[in-house]
Amino acid sequence: MADPINHETPPVWAKEPIPDDALLFMRVHKNQLDADGEPFPGAFRNRPQSTDGMSTDWKKYSSPEACRNRARNPHDNAVIQLKVEDVRQIPEQTVVHTPIYQPDAEPPNINRAHTDVYGEKDAEVRLKLMRIYRMVIRQKELV
């Protein structure tokens, strides 16, 4: 039987199918916010390389506050919300649950909510993402 305290035994976090009506949260750093606190188009990008996904958190396992608190400096970030169905209507974008369990990383990286939005983030995709997000925590509300 697996020892839940033993980090050498990864927890069984199956990659789950994400329904269309699910919601995703995403941090936006203050350097990607305009004077009104709204994200620049550049906030919507794959990390760290274009072949990776855009990093988000599935609402099923996260709150907006938990998403914000995963940042190095939470108060430097806003949190926006995306509806999965809207994301999937944008060309070549796929939404995949990609939970992370890296207890030995520095700092440890454990996030069952982690979800990637795969697909190139060209100008069309980024402008379309700009039209579907909803702000849920403004950066200045956090100070």
């Binding site: 350097n31 620049f40 990093s55 069309e124």
Partner: protein, 134 residues
Amino acid sequence: MVVETIHQIPLNQTLAEALRASRRILDLPDDWDEEGSPSFRETTWRRATEFVKLAALAFQQRFGVWIEPPRILPGPEGSIDLHWRTAERELLINIPERAENPADYYGTGDAQDAVKGKLNTALPNEWILLWLTR
């Protein structure tokens, strides 16, 4: 008021000031978003601002008016975004960090009114500003 010239032809003050202010993007250090994004190269910024000058000047010479300056913004992977919004249309042009790569653009009004493709930024491409303002 003449504040800057390109090929000995003056730019208007609003445009010149926006281009000058955009140089702040070069002050962003590596990891400026705390997600590992790189700082911006001066060559990328120069390519972006020279393209705006070239396009705006060609548009002014052809149609007699100056275009409003775009927002000049940090983009993904060391690229720079040029972002225009009007009451009817929106245009995003991405200037990549790699000088040999063309710019990527997308403009949209409504569902039946969109433009998309690649631009050679050595050319004025004033047609795209005409599309934006039409």
